[in-house]
Amino acid sequence: MSSAELSQIAINAILLSGILALVALGFSLVWGIMNIVNLSHGAFIVVGAYLTFWLHAAFHVDPFLSIPISMVVLFALGYLIQRALINQVIRAPLLATFLLTFGLEILIVNLLNFFFKADTRSVMTAYSGAGFVIGPVRVPYIRLGALVVSLALVLALGAFLNRSRLGRAIQATGMDIDAARLTGVQVRTIYALTYGIGAALAGAAGSLLSTLVSFDPNLGGTYTERAFVICVLGGLGNVVNVIIGAVVYSVVEVFVGSRLPALSQAITFGILVLVLVVRPTGIAGKSV
């Protein structure tokens, strides 16, 4: 492998890990705080992608500017879904939330199929594919922008959870629901907020992805899967873990992909199994 290729691959991995961290961030939050493996996460991502596509096609809204819109819309959607549906089964066995979020995923995907058809879409802007060159390495603007936005959102979520009163209430609820309730935390509201934030982050990821890959209503499943792997690799409980998980995932996928692409998923999942056996709490997760 030449040094030019090696440095390009390293940059590719860094750029990919940014977007994947954002893909997994909301999923990790919901899982960590509420113990819900949210199988509809990928569908929320796709909704964000479609919103961005629609705003761009109909009103020429720049995909980066549509990120806040996606986030607000998905926050509202997530909040309502949690309030109306998931709160009903929150104390039920894990399987109930599995089924419910799985059902939601199917519902959302089919609604998207109905409204947007199964056509493949992507958002192309004037700066799509443009980039700058440092030595042998090419850095596309969009991927760099996606990395910056992702990191900003990861840091913002970290600051929110650790610094703000509400953020601490969310963390407290995740640690001990009964103790939190005793101190006056409104668990239902906190759960709805958490789920809403998770959905909002999925929306942001969807907006960014719409500029990077082509999508149709069925794209979500593969991103739910990636989010799951990243959370298991990195461990739950801290936004930094998500970054670690995303970096490990991207490095494996990109480096293995450059020489043995046919095996890249097999090796990624192989590492997943290995981590589960050796360190079930994830690479950076705290042991319980």
Binding site: T120, G129, P261
Partner: protein, 407 residues
């Protein structure tokens, strides 16, 4: 004892009284199909269904099919296989056993076709399939499955030929394919053909299905600086490869794909980045075939289809090949003079038709190796032209593709 006898008699009576499974109406031949209406290939599934239905409707308008002096109407009974090959197999079984369909039309895609074929074989019901071109399906000695389209290994040949006609000096080719039966065969077929033509295959790798990032492969390819970059996957893969090639400044002299460019979505998604890209296609409406079928020429077929489906601007080849599967059945039924599945199967094995879709004839395995692949290219005026084979080309191919930063 008496009682037992009574109950046995009662049971027997009930059994006899049970209605026999409803046979299809006397004068209707029902085609059964499991098609991907949802899932990864939902779009292609829609093309497939619309193609089948269009041909069935047209033949019914013309009075149906004459079999042994009797006129039959045609009908389509289909289920959604959700792009899950194992579901396809279950549905084919259900269509044959419960719905009692007469004949099977294939699903969309090689993997589902591969799971449908053994079921048809077991029940001795013929399947004419129009959307699964992996030859591996036909290496198992099935007698009841027939492939109407050019097989996978021919897919990228036309692109290599078209480029070599322009530039005999184009000597290196990089191939990346999706790790899935059809795309693998396409990639292997292209690699073999390139070597046969004295070219060097500088890169040949497979990426996993559902890949969302192929930057690693493209970075490796960039270092090899190939004259031709060929991709064999599906629409989303082709879009991803073009986008990431632009991201990474991978600029071969020609870029071509087995699947993707033929769909109108290719340009809608890529806009100007689609220009100069070659696409393999089973069929285009610009081809100059004449045939013995209700439409006779590709142009007439396309116009008639558009009149019924105004939402289609250009007609995807999946529509044409699916429709011609119904025509193959029509001719075979007429020839067999019977709707007995085995007799229809024998008639299919012997047909040799000229159609708007090109020649339809099956080799001993049931594969239509007699029709060549065509090549299309997007050109900077925003249109797509058939540029190969040369004798039916609308326009000459544009070559080389300018580097990404020089457009």
């Amino acid at each position: 004892m008496k009682r037992t006898g009574f109950y046995s008699a009662l049971a027997l009576g009930l059994l006899l009284a049970l209605p026999a499974p409803a046979p299809a109406a006397d004068n209707t031949i029902v085609f059964g199909a499991a098609i991907s209406i949802t899932g990864k290939t939902a779009k292609e599934g829609e093309y497939t269904r619309d193609g089948y239905q269009f041909a069935i409707d047209r033949l019914n308008e013309l009075g149906g099919v004459k079999v042994g002096g009797k006129s039959y109407k045609l009908a389509l009974k289909y289920y959604d296989d959700e792009t899950k090959p194992e579901r396809t197999a279950q549905l084919i079984e259900k269509l044959i056993n419960e719905d009692k369909v007469n004949l099977i039309l294939g699903p969309y895609g090689s993997s589902p076709t591969g799971t449908a074929a053994p079921i048809c074989e077991r029940y001795k019901i013929p399947m004419v399939e129009a959307n699964g071109s992996a030859e591996s399906i036909f290496a198992k000695g099935y007698k009841y499955s027939f492939m109407i389209l050019s097989p996978a290994k021919l897919y990228l040949r036309g692109i290599i030929d078209a480029v070599r006609a322009k530039d005999p000096g184009a000597k290196t080719v990089a191939i990346l394919g999706e790790n899935e039966s059809f795309s693998k065969e396409v990639a292997q077929g292209a690699a073999d053909y390139a070597k046969e033509k004295g070219m060097e295959v500088v890169y040949h790798e497979l990426y996993p299905s559902n890949a969302q990032d192929v930057s690693a492969l493209l970075t490796a390819i960039k270092g090899k600086n190939p004259a031709i970059l060929l991709g064999s996957g599906h629409l989303q893969d082709s879009l991803l490869i073009v986008k990431q090639s632009k991201d990474l400044g991978v600029s071969p002299k020609a870029m071509g794909f087995s699947v993707g460019p033929s769909s109108p979505e290719f340009r809608e998604n890529l806009k100007g980045s689609a220009d100069y890209v070659f696409g393999a296609t089973q069929w285009t409406e610009a081809l100059r075939y004449t045939g013995d079928d209700p439409w006779k020429t590709p142009k007439a077929f396309a116009d008639a289809f558009r009149a019924k489906h105004p939402n289609y601007k250009s007609i995807p080849y999946q529509v044409a090949e699916s429709a011609v599967a119904v025509i193959a059945y029509q001719k075979a039924l007429e020839k067999a003079g019977s709707i007995d599945p085995t007799k229809v199967r024998d008639a299919l094995a012997g047909i040799d038709l000229s159609t708007y879709y090109g020649r339809v004839k099956f080799d001993a395995r049931g594969v239509n190796i007699y029709k060549p692949m065509a090549v299309e290219q997007y050109q900077p005026n925003g249109n797509k032209y058939t540029v190969w084979p040369a004798d039916v080309a609308e326009k000459p191919a544009l070559y080389p593709m300018p580097a990404w930063d020089k457009r």
